[in-house]
Each structure stands twice: as structure tokens, then as C-alpha cells.
């Protein structure tokens, strides 16, 4: 089942007078429960593509389709609903709130969406990422790998259909990076999420079902591991 599709997507940034073409004519398809990894040098447009796919940004031309529906046509309220229920994000720099405990950080998306039973669900997700017993720890009391696992739990707490990870292992050593990658892969396999991940590490690329090689805002080639 095709969950996410980019059709001839272009995105140009405008800095003062300058035009910076970040993506041009990119097309891509990601199916449910698969892992798609974007590979390419820094500045080639990976983050831009992820923001478009996560409906945080919109193309200048072309379409981003989630379950066949274009993100461009959605209003602010529908977009918020989309982000709350169907998309989860993991960032390179974890982006945990330093004054909140691990549990509260995971609870946060549920609280924002005004869902019930937030604490119970969040506890389960923390257990799922292997952090049972660390619920009350503050971020600065956790290691980098643990922090990123909290971030993964947070991204998955709403059972999103699409999980977007922008260089999730970029700030981690190889061992804890491996743990995080394993979690992300499990998310796709066990929870059926469509994982879209940007990376330039070989280890990260290894878990891919589909590898997308990018260069200067274009897709150079696509390689499927079937």
C-alpha cells in the first residue's frame, strides 16, 4: 500500500534576494511498514524533503500525497490533526524539554492532542524503547542514546503512520546509534509505520528497504533491498 508519495516536488528557499533551490523535481514513493533512507552529502536537500513529507513545509510545485491526499490543500487545523495523529518526528539533537522528565516528554504529544490515559500510554512506550524505570529521570540525567530513545518513544506515542527521522544517530556513538536504529526498524516492522530517515552513516543506511541517493536537490538513484 502506498502511504507517502512525492510527485515532481520542487522547493526553493528565498534568502533576501538570493534563490536557493533545495529540491528540484523529486519523485518518491514509500509504502506502509517500510524503511526508506535518504543518503547524500550535507546540503543536498534531505531535511527539506523530510519537512515536506511531514507536512511541516510545502512544495513550490508538485505534490506531497499522504494516503493519496495532497498536503497543500489542507488548512491549519487539518495539518495540526495530521501531525498529532499520523506523523512522528525524531531529530538529530533529540529536542527533549530539559525541565520535563522522560515520562512527561513522551506524554507531551498526547497532552497536546488532549488525549486520555496519557500517562499509561507513555509508560508503555517507554517500556517499548527499553527505558522502564527511567520515567522520572530528567534529560540531563540520561545518556545521549537514552535521550534519543526517549525521543523515539515520544515520536511513536501516537502510533503514527509515518515516522520521520532526520539523522537520528548523528549525535551518537556507534553502539547507542545501533540501538536507536534497531528501535526505528522495529517501529516499521512491529507497528507498521512508514519510516523515512535521512542519514549519512553507512550503519543507518544498512537497515533500509529502499535507499534514495540524493545530490544537489535531486534524486540520483533509488536502490531497493528486497
Amino acid at each position: 500500500m502506498i502511504r507517502l508519495e512525492l510527485r515532481n516536488v520542487s522547493r526553493t528557499y528565498h534568502l533576501d534576494e538570493q534563490r536557493i533551490p533545495a529540491l528540484s523535481e523529486v519523485s518518491l514513493v514509500a509504502e506502509a511498514g517500510t524503511v526508506t533512507v535518504l543518503v547524500g552529502r550535507s546540503g543536498c536537500g534531505k531535511s527539506t524533503l523530510l519537512n515536506l513529507a511531514g507536512a511541516m513545509d510545502f512544495p513550490d510545485s508538485g505534490d506531497v500525497l499522504i494516503d493519496g491526499q495532497s498536503t497543500t490543500g489542507l488548512n491549519e487545523r487539518q495539518l495540526t490533526e495530521l501531525r498529532r495523529n499520523r506523523i512522528g518526528f525524531v531529530f538529530q539533537s533529540f529536542q527533549l524539554l530539559p525541565t520535563m522528565t522522560a515520562l512527561e516528554n513522551v506524554e507531551l504529544p498526547l497532552l497536546l492532542a488532549r488525549k486520555p490515559n496519557t500517562e499509561k500510554i507513555a509508560r508503555e512506550r517507554l517500556r517499548w524503547v527499553g527505558l522502564e524505570g527511567r520515567e522520572r529521570s530528567l534529560p540531563h540525567q540520561l545518556s545521549g542514546g537514552q535521550m534519543q530513545r526517549v525521543a523515539v518513544a515520544r515520536a511513536l506515542v501516537q502510533q503514527p503512520d509515518i515516522l520521520i527521522a532526520d539523522e537520528p544517530t548523528g549525535n551518537l556513538d556507534t553502539a547507542s546509534g545501533g540501538d536507536v536504529l534497531q528501535l526505528l526498524q522495529r517501529a516499521a516492522r512491529e507497528l507498521g509505520a512508514t519510516l523515512l530517515m535521512a542519514t549519512h552513516s553507512a550503519e543507518a543506511a544498512a537497515i533500509a528497504d529502499v535507499r534514495v541517493y540524493m545530490r544537489d536537490g535531486s534524486v540520483e538513484s533509488i536502490q531497493r533491498n528486497l
Binding site: 495540526t80 529536542q95 507531551l108
Partner: protein, 818 residues
């Protein structure tokens, strides 16, 4: 240094233009208020100088006496072997048809002016009224003609011959003063010695400037208190500069670290941030001068009305912005800036080279300092209490002011602990009440505890000052109303129609009394004579009334002793009662003897009691009418209180009195009118106070907006991240508003507590020592609660713009910023 300054200070200031402007405006307003009060105070107190100088020339000495100078002394003094000219002087406010009330002076018009016959008595009039005056005009039916128009700047008056003055006003025998002109070649000291020796003990001889000095001295407490109030906004502004510089330092920690690594000295870093503060101070002062000059114009009217109603007559002088004021403005701006920036600037020098410490650990350090700050707060509070104990220094409540400053400092030092503590307690209720926004707001504030506390302290100071002044004024008003109830017991009050300011008591023609006595329905008349007198070089009011009537009708409240017994003991004796302010000012107690000049006599009066009075800061000495008549038999009454028989129609009697005394320039007013007038004067007196409070609150609001804006900008990555996690823009907006509300709430808690302390200081220490009156403490709960709610609402309003900024942040742009 200049490169450093440009990159580290100027560029961030420019990038954060709105916040820079808010800080600048806050400082400017603080300085403006100080300048405005000073300028307006000077102008209102300014011209006590007699406008007559232009006509008669410079007077060398002035002879005055309580109840007037006997005119025969001119002849007696002229016989002294000195080369001196003595001239009589009288003055009154007189109604002239078509012009209204005009000050009329009676002097010895020189022959030349006399000769210019115009068919009636000659009058010299100033340019301003000349245009509105017919060639021939009347004063109390007595004809005058314009003999000459004189130039006299702003002042407007008429000058007539002393003999015509006495005829027209029916005031014979007594002069207001004798002016002494010492001729060239005669020794000044010699004249003063010989004249003093010749005059009776009760007469005063002084330089004319002395009155001006007295006025300044009399206004001193009043102006001091205004001036102190005007510094509130500056204090609040200081918190703002502190905040701005702290934010600068925190934001530029990394840059400072790099600079230190590249060889910048601690000294350079320190001066860099002090320079930034000085820029705010100096630019704020310059802008403040301009605003202050404009504000002064509106304030001078209010202040001179108060001076006129409570102290003495004066014509407002033009506002003059002198070098001294300019210096004051820049000194105030610079001092505020440097003092408040010193702490954060020192903090900047402690950044070690290449420091890469995150903000988190910094806030942990703040947490560790909580207990230390709390201990300091306790020490300051004890010091504040100790400073509230000593008496005044040279009539000024210096220690009272010190205690106020120490209390504010104690509150400021306890702010972080309060914020942290209450914030902790509020977590669960906030989550319940505001959902996740409440939780995030509470965490957000504890993450920036240091900065939040400063803002809370600033707001709390403004709130405390406002509420304490509110409590003081409210208590004072309540006390005044109660006092008026006891004081104003008569049904009707009669006085001269001539307008007068405090310290002036125009006489009622004696012929009015028999006519009054013939009006049916009147039970009692209290004939009262008031005049200004000097006691130990300071002015006060001497009053003589029928104390037996007073005893039966009115209820004076005495500090101690039996009301009836005290009042009974006065009749036919050299005994007096004095008001509380008089007793405080001159350290007079019951049983003491005070020397008072009555006409030509110096009389030793025994103080029988001290009564509460709130009408006059200079104080009253009251004697019985019988005692007055013994020394000053011809003294006309100045006020008559009319007590009616039971069940008589007040308005009918009033009309009857007016009918029978129509030819006399007097006014008859019912009880309520006097009461209302007293309350109006009171309210007007404190109008300036309220204006000052308003500015302080406004400055605090600028601070709140400024602080919230900084919080938003520093936490933009967090807001971006929240959007990624599914936060709607409305939730971000709400989050900021909840934070604003929380800051306001903490400030209200601290401000209310501090306000109660300050109000007690104001009432029982500062006011008592400045003005001498005992005010009953009274908490105007409803008004205070309303004001607090309003302040809170405005704090939340101050969060609106920052909330909008936060909601408009583009998540993809802010999320990756480091």
C-alpha cells in the same frame, strides 16, 4: 574595543530593536517623572516674591504682627533718629465688576500719582486687567479711575492709596505690614536694632525674602514626599535595565568565551556591558528630559492647586529647565543604568575562555543560590524593621525611606524562592486548569527562574508601591471623613466671599454679627477668628473661637485627657489647645508653655491638650475668644459657624441670612459644601500621586512585555519543536499568556505582601514624621482587589504581543538553530 562593541553590543541591540526600545522607553519614563516633578514643584513653589516690587521698589525690611500692625507705629517709628522711610502696606482680594477677583494693594501713593486727578481716587492697574476695566470703576461702591497702566509680567493686580483702601474696604487702624526702606548711607544693622528696640515684643521685623524662605521650608516635606514618589518609576526602570543586561550576558556567553580566549581582558568585558547600560541610561535621560518637560506643564497646575489649598498663596512661576535639571536627568539615568547593570556585567567577566556551558547548568546554579538569597532577604527584612524605629532627622523621615528601600530589596531577594516554591505547588492545579499549556508554562518559568524572578520583583515593586500608597491614601481619606464628622457639626458656615488660599483669612465685617443674631431659628453662633502667626520661626495658624459653643456642639478628639474638662479650662485663661501636627513639629506637650505673639503682647500660653486635626500641616493653636479679646479687642471674625434650633429648615435660614447680609461680601455655605470641598482638596492633592503610580505601573508593564518577549525569543526552538509534536498555534499562544498570567500572579503575591509592609511604613513612619498626623489604618479591600485584578489583566495583556510572536514562528526555521 570598538569592533567588540559593534559586534557584541550594537548588532544584537539592533537585531532586537523592539526590546531595546522598550527598555529605553522605560528608562525615559522613569527619568521623565523625576524631572517633571522637580520642574513642576519648582514652578509651583516658585514665585512667592511680591509682585509689588515693580511698583514700590525693593523693600529692605518688613514689620508684621499677629492680627495686624497698629498704624500709629508709622508715626512713632518716624521719630527714630535713623534715615529711613516707613510705608504702610495692605492687601486684599477684591471683586471688581467685569474683571472678577483682583488682588488690590493699598500703599502710600506718591504725590505725583495722586495729582493725576481723574475725578475719582486714582488706581494703578496692570496691563492684563487694564483692557477689561472701564476708565471709571468701583470697589465696594467706592469710585476709582485708571490713573496709570503698569507692566508686571504675568501677575495681575491693582494699586490704590492706603487711605482709599481703608475707606473702600472698611478696614481701619490696622495695617498688614509696614515696609521699611533704608536710605543710602544708613547702616542696615543699626536700623534693625533701633526699630526692634522701639517695637513692642509681639511685633516681628524681618527681611521680605524671609517669607519666601519660610514658604520653601513649609513646602519641604510636601515636595520631598512627591520627589520620593517620583523615584518609584526609576526603581522599576532599574529592574528593567538589570534584566536587559542579564539577557545580553546570557545570550552572548559563547561569544564572550571566544573573545576571552582571543585575549580580551575581564576589564574589557566589564566595560563593554557597562557601556551598553550607559547607552540606555543616557539615551533614556535625553528622551526623559523631553517627556518630563511636557509632563511638567500638566503637573504644575495640580501641584500649585495643592500648594494654594494646603500651604500658602503663590503664583506659579514659568517652568524653567535649568542646567541643574539636565544634570539631574543624566545623573539619574546613568546612575540607574550603572547600578542595575553592575551585577550582570560582573557576571559576564566570570565567563571563562571558551566556555561552552549550557543554559541548563546555569539555572541549576540559580537554584543553589535560592537559599543564600533567602538568607540575605531575611537579613534585609530585619534591617528594614530596625530602620523603621528611629525618629525623624531634621524633620525628615530619612530612616523611614531607608526602611522602604530595604523592604523592597528584601522582597526582591526572596522573589526566586517564592517563584520556585509557588510554581512547584501550582503544577497540579495548572495542569488541571490550563491543560498541557499550564504544565509547559510552569516548567518554562522554572527553566528561566533567574530572569522570571527579576521580572516578578520589578512588577511586585510597582504593585507594592501602588497598593501601599493606595492603602495610605484610603486610610487617610477614611480618617479625614471621620474627623470631618466630628469637626463639622454646625449647620451653616459663614466666611468672607474673598477668595483666599491656605494661611489667608479675610475678615468678616463685624456689623454682620448683630444681623445674624436677629435671624430666627438660630441656636448658637461660634464666632471664630483665625490668623497666621509665627512660632519659633515657622508659620502656623492661631484660632480663637467660642469654646463653650464648641464644647456643646462639636466633638474634638484629643490624644489624651477629658474633652469637656480641657475645653472648659480655656475660657478667660492664657491657655490653648494645639493640633497634633503642631505638637509634633514643635515638640509641644500638654502642660508646656508656648510663647505666642498677640498684637503687641508676647503671651505665654499653657497647652491644655492636643487634638487630632487633618486640615493643616503647619498646625493650629486654639484659644478661647475671651482670651483673644483681652489682647486684640478689635479683631474681626473670619469664620462664623451657625448652629440651628432643632427642626428648623436649614435652607430657609440660609436664605434669610443671605437676605439680611446682602450688602456684605460674605458667603454662606451649608455643612455638606464644606465637607465636599475638604474631600475635593484631598482628592486633588493625591491626583499627582496617582499619576506617578500609573507611570510606575506602566513602566512595569513595559518590563513584563520586554521580559516575555525575551523569553519567547530564547525559547523559539522549544516552540518550534512543540509544533512538530502537534501543538496548534493557538496552544503556543495560550502557553505564553499562561506564563504572563503566572508572572503576574507571583508578582501580585509578592507585591501584596510587600505593599502591606510599605503601607504601614507610609502611614506610621513616613507620614507621621513628615506631616505629624496620626492616620487610622484602613484596608480598602474592594478598591485594592479591583486594582490588583486590573494589574493582573494588564500583565496578561502585556503577553499578547509576545504570544503572537511565538505563534508566528516558523517551526522549520527555528528547530535547527543552535
Amino acid at each position: 574595543m570598538s569592533v567588540l562593541f559593534r559586534t557584541l553590543i550594537l548588532r544584537p541591540l539592533r537585531n532586537d530593536l523592539l526590546r531595546s526600545l522598550l527598555t529605553l522607553l522605560a528608562v525615559a519614563l522613569g527619568v521623565a517623572v523625576v524631572i517633571a516633578i522637580d520642574l513642576a514643584g519648582d514652578a509651583a513653589a516658585g514665585s512667592f516674591q511680591s509682585s509689588l516690587t515693580t511698583v514700590v521698589g525693593k523693600v529692605d525690611l518688613e514689620i508684621t504682627a499677629t492680627g495686624g500692625v497698629d498704624e500709629r507705629w508709622i508715626g512713632k517709628l518716624a521719630a527714630l533718629p535713623i534715615i529711613v522711610r516707613f510705608a504702610p502696606g495692605m492687601q486684599a482680594e477684591v471683586k471688581i465688576e467685569g474683571v472678577g477677583f483682583v488682588t488690590v494693594y493699598g500703599i502710600d501713593l506718591l504725590g505725583a500719582e495722586q495729582a493725576r486727578g481723574c475725578g475719582a481716587s486714582p488706581a494703578l492697574v496692570t496691563k492684563g486687567i487694564s483692557a477689561r476695566l472701564a476708565n471709571r470703576f468701583f470697589i465696594n461702591g467706592y469710585p476709582f479711575c485708571k490713573a496709570k497702566t503698569i507692566e508686571s509680567g504675568e501677575a495681575n493686580f491693582a494699586v490704590i492709596d492706603i487711605a482709599d483702601f481703608q475707606q473702600a474696604l472698611g478696614r481701619f487702624g490696622k495695617l498688614d505690614r509696614i515696609d521699611v526702606f533704608v536710605e543710602p548711607g544708613e547702616g542696615f544693622e543699626n536700623v534693625q536694632r533701633q526699630v526692634t528696640a522701639a517695637l513692642p515684643a509681639g511685633y516681628r521685623i524681618a527681611r521680605p525674602g524671609a517669607r519666601s524662605d519660610e514658604n520653601q521650608k513649609m513646602l519641604r516635606s510636601f515636595r520631598w514626599n512627591l520627589r520620593i514618589l517620583s523615584y518609584i518609576s526609576l526603581v522599576v526602570g532599574a529592574f528593567l535595565i538589570y534584566n536587559t543586561i542579564s539577557i545580553s550576558v546570557v545570550r552572548r556567553r559563547a561569544e564572550i568565551g571566544i573573545l576571552r580566549a582571543l585575549g580580551a581582558t575581564r576589564q574589557a568585558v566589564l566595560s563593554l556591558f557597562l557601556l551598553e547600560a550607559s547607552m540606555f541610561g543616557l539615551a533614556g535621560a535625553a528622551l526623559g528630559l523631553l517627556i518630563g518637560r511636557v509632563l511638567a506643564v500638566t503637573m504644575v497646575g495640580l501641584i500649585s492647586q495643592t500648594v494654594h489649598a494646603l500651604y500658602t498663596s503663590s503664583t506659579p512661576a514659568p517652568i524653567h529647565l535649568g542646567l541643574l535639571d539636565i544634570t539631574l536627568a543624566f545623573a539619574a539615568g546613568l546612575a540607574t543604568a550603572l547600578l542595575s547593570a553592575w551585577g550582570p556585567a560582573r557576571e559576564a567577566t566570570r565567563v571563562v575562555p571558551m566556555e561552552a556551558m549550557g543554559r541548563g547548568s546555569r539555572e541549576v546554579r540559580v537554584r543553589l543560590r535560592l537559599w543564600k538569597n533567602l538568607a540575605i532577604a531575611a537579613v534585609l527584612a530585619v534591617a528594614a524593621w530596625a530602620a523603621s524605629l528611629p525618629g525623624p532627622v531634621d524633620g525628615r523621615p530619612i530612616f523611614g525611606y531607608l526602611s522602604t528601600v530595604l523592604s523592597i530589596a528584601a522582597a526582591a531577594m526572596s522573589a526566586p524562592a517564592l517563584v520556585a516554591g509557588v510554581n512547584g505547588l501550582l503544577r497540579a492545579p495548572l495542569l488541571k486548569l490550563f491543560g498541557v499549556e499550564g504544565l509547559l508554562a510552569s516548567r518554562g518559568l522554572s527553566a528561566s527562574l533567574g530572569r522570571t524572578s527579576v521580572m516578578v520583583a520589578a512588577l511586585a515593586t510597582a504593585i507594592a508601591m501602588t497598593s501601599s500608597v493606595g492603602i495610605m491614601v484610603g486610610s487617610f481619606r477614611e480618617t479625614l471623613l471621620l474627623w470631618l464628622d466630628g469637626q463639622l457639626r454646625a449647620d451653616l458656615y459663614i466666611r468672607s466671599a474673598e477668595p483666599s488660599s491656605a494661611g489667608e483669612f479675610p475678615p468678616i465685617p463685624t456689623a454682620v454679627i448683630p444681623r445674624l443674631r436677629s435671624v430666627p431659628g438660630i441656636a448658637d453662633l461660634d464666632i471664630f477668628t483665625a490668623f497666621e502667626f509665627h512660632y519659633q520661626g515657622q508659620r502656623a495658624t492661631l484660632g480663637a473661637g467660642d469654646l463653650d459653643v464648641q464644647r456643646r456642639h462639636a466633638r474634638l478628639r484629643f490624644l489624651s485627657g477629658d474633652h469637656d474638662a480641657i475645653l472648659r479650662s480655656l475660657s478667660h485663661h492664657d491657655r490653648a489647645i494645639v493640633s497634633e501636627p503642631f505638637s509634633e513639629k514643635h515638640h509641644v506637650h500638654p502642660g508646656d508653655s508656648i510663647a505666642v505673639d498677640l498684637g503687641e503682647h508676647r503671651v505665654a500660653l499653657t497647652v491644655a491638650g492636643i487634638y487630632y486635626d487633618y486640615s493643616n500641616e503647619q498646625g493650629y493653636v486654639i484659644i478661647d475668644r475671651t482670651t483673644l479679646l483681652k489682647y486684640l479687642p478689635d479683631q474681626p471674625p473670619t469664620n462664623i459657624a451657625v448652629y440651628l434650633k432643632q427642626g428648623v429648615d436649614k435652607d430657609a435660614v440660609r436664605r434669610e441670612i443671605e437676605e439680611r447680609t446682602r450688602q456684605f461680601p460674605i458667603s454662606v455655605a451649608p455643612n455638606q459644601t464644606l465637607r465636599q470641598a475638604a474631600v475635593e482638596i484631598f482628592d486633588r492633592t493625591f491626583a499627582v500621586t496617582w499619576a506617578l503610580e500609573g507611570v510606575a505601573i506602566f513602566v512595569a508593564m513595559l518590563g513584563a512585555a520586554n521580559c516575555l518577549l525575551a523569553l519567547v525569543l530564547d525559547r523559539r526552538r522549544e516552540f518550534g519543536m512543540l509544533r512538530y509534536l502537534g501543538a496548534a498555534t493557538s496552544q503556543i499562544r495560550r502557553l505564553i499568556l499562561v506564563e504572563a498570567g503566572l508572572i503576574g500572579f507571583f508578582a501580585l503575591l509578592l507585591g501584596a505582601a510587600l505593599g502591606l509592609v510599605l503601607s504601614r511604613l507610609l502611614i506610621f513612619v513616613i507620614n507621621k514624621q513628615s506631616f505629624g498626623w496620626t492616620i487610622q489604618f484602613h484596608l480598602p479591600v474592594a478598591a485594592l482587589g479591583g486594582a490588583m485584578l486590573l494589574i493582573w489583566a494588564v500583565t496578561v495583556l502585556a503577553g499578547l504581543y509576545p504570544a503572537r510572536v511565538a505563534a508566528r514562528l516558523k517551526p522549520i526555521e527555528v528547530i535547527h538553530e543552535e
